[in-house]
C-alpha cells in the first residue's frame, strides 16, 4: 500500500461510507463535493509518469464540475426545496452502513476473481471502483428524496470513472469530457426536475410519484 493513489482510494471509500450513514442533505452534498475533489487528485496522481496538460485539464474539469458546480447547483435546489434531511429511507442508516461493509467485502471478493486485460495501477483500485458503484446504486434504490438520488447517481458515476482512470490507459480526452458533459446535463436536468416536483407537490419524495395517475373526474 503506497502513496497518494491508495490514500485517495481509501478516502473515496470513506466518503461513500459516510454518505451511506448521513441524513442531513447539506452534509451529503458536501461529502459528494469532497469525493469530486478526491477524484481530481486521483486523476493527477494515477499516472505521474505521463502527466500532461491533457490530464491536468481533465482533473481541473472534474474538480470544477464535481467539486464546485454540482454542489453549488444542488445546494440552490435544496434551498428552494426547503428540505433539510432525508427523513425515512427504505433502509435505515445503521443498516445502510452494515450493508455498505458487506458490499465492500463483496467488491474485494469479486475483484480478486475478475480477469483484467491489463493490471490496474493499484490493487485497491478495482474493489474501490466496484464498491463506489455499488454504493451509488444502493443509495439510488434506498433513498426517497430526489436530491439524494441525484447525489447517489454522481457517486455511481464516480465509481465508473475510477475504474476508467485506473484500468483503461489513455481514454481519449474527448470521451472523458463527453461523459462529464453528460453527467452535467443529468444533474442540471434533475435539478430543474426536483425544483418542479417540489413546486408541484411541496416535497421531493419520489416514492409518492408512483401513485400518480390521470385524474378522471
Amino acid at each position: 500500500m503506497t502513496g497518494w493513489v491508495d490514500t485517495a482510494l481509501v478516502l473515496l471509500t470513506l466518503t461513500s461510507l459516510l454518505l451511506l450513514g448521513s441524513s442531513r442533505l447539506t452534509r451529503c452534498i458536501r461529502i459528494v463535493a469532497f469525493q469530486g475533489v478526491v477524484l481530481g487528485v486521483l486523476t493527477v496522481t494515477a499516472r505521474p509518469t505521463e502527466l500532461s496538460l491533457r490530464i491536468l485539464m481533465l482533473a481541473a474539469a472534474i474538480v470544477g464540475l464535481k467539486g464546485v458546480t454540482f454542489p453549488w447547483l444542488l445546494s440552490r435546489v435544496l434551498r428552494d426545496a426547503a428540505v433539510r434531511r432525508e427523513v425515512d429511507p427504505v433502509v435505515g442508516y445503521i443498516g445502510s452502513l452494515l450493508l455498505g461493509t458487506l458490499m465492500l467485502a463483496v467488491s474485494f471478493w469479486l475483484s480478486a476473481r475478475l480477469p483484467l486485460p491489463m493490471p490496474a495501477i493499484s490493487g485497491l483500485l478495482v474493489p474501490v471502483a466496484l464498491f463506489t458503484t455499488l454504493a451509488g446504486l444502493f443509495l439510488i434504490v434506498t433513498r426517497r428524496t430526489a436530491l439524494t438520488q441525484v447525489l447517489a447517481y454522481l457517486v455511481l458515476e464516480n465509481g465508473i470513472y475510477v475504474f476508467g482512470v485506473g484500468v483503461v490507459q489513455g481514454t481519449p480526452m474527448l470521451v472523458e469530457l463527453g461523459v462529464l458533459l453528460d453527467v452535467f446535463v443529468v444533474v442540471f436536468v434533475m435539478g430543474i426536475a426536483i425544483f418542479h416536483i417540489n413546486r408541484e407537490f411541496d416535497h421531493i419524495d419520489t416514492d409518492q410519484l408512483t401513485a400518480l395517475k390521470d385524474w378522471t373526474a
Binding site: M1, T2, D6, T7, V10, T13, L14, L17, G21, Y93, I94, L97, L98, G100, T101, L104, A105, F108, G123, L124, P127
Partner: protein, 306 residues
C-alpha cells in the same frame, strides 16, 4: 543500568501512579477552554484520598455482588495494565493472543460494574446498565477488529510485539490502514471511557447519564476504586491509541517513556478539547457512531487481508 525486567516493572507502576493525572488534565483543558482556571492538577488524588478515608454505605437490598463489583473491577483493569506495552518497552506480561485477554479483562470490568448496578435493584441504575452494555457491545467489535488489523499488519498476536512492529517505516507503507485503526480506536476510547459524544462524565441529569448512573450507589472506598479503575482504563486504552499514532522507539528507555507519557497527555488534551467543543449526541445517534467505528476497523482489516 536498568534491566528489561525492572523496566517493565517500572512501567507497571507508572500507570498506577500517573493515571489519575490524565483525568485532571482533561478537566483542566475543559476548564481552560471554558475560560475558567480549573481545579489543581492533583485534585483527583485528593478526591481519591478523601474517598478512601470515608466509610462505605450499603443499601439493605444489596448483596455481596454489589460489594465485590468495585474490587473485582479494579483488579481486572490492573491486570489489563500489565498487558499493554508502554513507551516502547515490552509489557510486563505478554504472550500470543494477549490482546483477546486484554479486551475481555475490560469486558470483565464492565460486567462487574453492570452487575453491581443491577444488584441495587434500582430501575434507574438498570437503565444506565442497559445503555452501557448496548454501547460497549458495539464498541467491542470495533476494538477487536482494529487490533486484528494491526496484528495482521505486524504479523504478531501479542500486544507487545504488535506495537514494537508499529514504526515510522510501517506507517509509510500502511498509512491508510493505521489511520483507519486510529480513528476506530479513538471512538472506542471515547465510548469506553464515557467521554463526550457518547456520554457526559460530568452530567448528573438523570435521563442522560450512562456510566455515572451505574456508580451512584457506591460510596467511600468503593467509589474510590471505581474512579481509580476508570482512570486506569483511560490510561490503557490511551496507550493503545498513542502507541499507534506516535510510533517512536528510540531505544533509550527513558526517552521512550517520556514520549509515551507526553503522547498520553496530548491525548488527554485532545479529549478535553473534544469534550468542550461537542455536545453529547442523542442516544439514538450513538450506535451510528459506533457502527461507523466498526466499519472503519473492518475497512482497515479488509485492506490488510487483501
Amino acid at each position: 543500568m536498568i534491566t528489561a525486567l525492572s523496566h517493565s516493572f517500572l512501567h507497571m507502576l507508572l500507570p498506577l501512579a500517573l493515571a489519575p493525572l490524565l483525568l485532571s488534565v482533561i478537566n483542566r483543558t475543559k476548564a481552560i477552554v471554558a475560560g475558567r482556571n480549573g481545579q489543581v492538577l492533583l485534585q483527583p488524588y485528593y478526591d481519591l484520598a478523601k474517598l478512601l478515608r470515608k466509610g462505605a454505605v450499603y443499601s439493605h437490598t444489596t448483596t455481596w455482588v454489589f460489594r465485590a463489583g468495585p474490587v473485582v473491577g479494579l483488579a481486572a483493569v490492573i491486570v489489563a495494565t500489565t498487558l499493554v506495552p508502554f513507551g516502547g518497552a515490552s509489557a510486563a506480561v505478554s504472550f500470543a493472543g494477549d490482546l483477546i485477554l486484554f479486551a475481555y479483562l475490560l469486558g470483565l470490568l464492565r460486567f462487574v460494574t453492570v452487575i453491581a448496578a443491577l444488584d441495587t435493584g434500582s430501575s434507574f441504575e438498570g437503565m444506565g446498565a442497559s445503555r452501557e452494555v448496548t454501547f460497549s457491545a458495539l464498541a467491542e467489535p470495533a476494538l477487536l477488529l482494529a487490533l486484528a488489523a494491526v496484528a495482521r499488519q505486524t504479523g504478531s498476536l501479542s500486544l507487545t510485539t504488535m506495537y514494537a512492529g508499529v514504526t515510522g517505516a510501517t506507517w509509510t507503507h500502511a498509512a491508510p490502514v493505521f489511520a483507519l485503526v486510529a480513528g476506530a480506536l479513538m471512538v472506542v476510547f471515547l465510548t469506553e471511557n464515557a467521554r463526550m459524544p457518547v456520554d457526559d462524565p460530568t452530567t448528573h441529569l438523570e435521563l442522560t447519564m450512562i456510566h455515572e448512573v451505574m456508580v451512584l450507589d457506591h460510596s467511600g472506598p468503593d467509589l474510590a476504586f471505581i474512579v481509580y479503575g476508570s482512570a486506569l482504563k483511560l490510561w490503557v486504552l490511551g496507550v493503545l491509541l498513542v502507541g499507534l499514532v506516535v510510533p517512536i522507539h528510540s531505544g533509550n528507555a527513558w526517552a521512550d517513556s517520556i514520549v509515551g507519557f507526553a503522547g498520553l497527555l496530548g491525548l488527554a488534551v485532545v479529549t478535553g478539547i473534544i469534550e468542550s467543543s461537542m455536545a453529547r449526541w442523542r442516544l439514538t445517534r450513538v450506535p451510528q457512531l459506533l457502527v461507523g467505528a466498526c466499519v472503519l476497523s473492518t475497512l482497515a482489516l479488509v485492506l490488510m487481508l487483501r
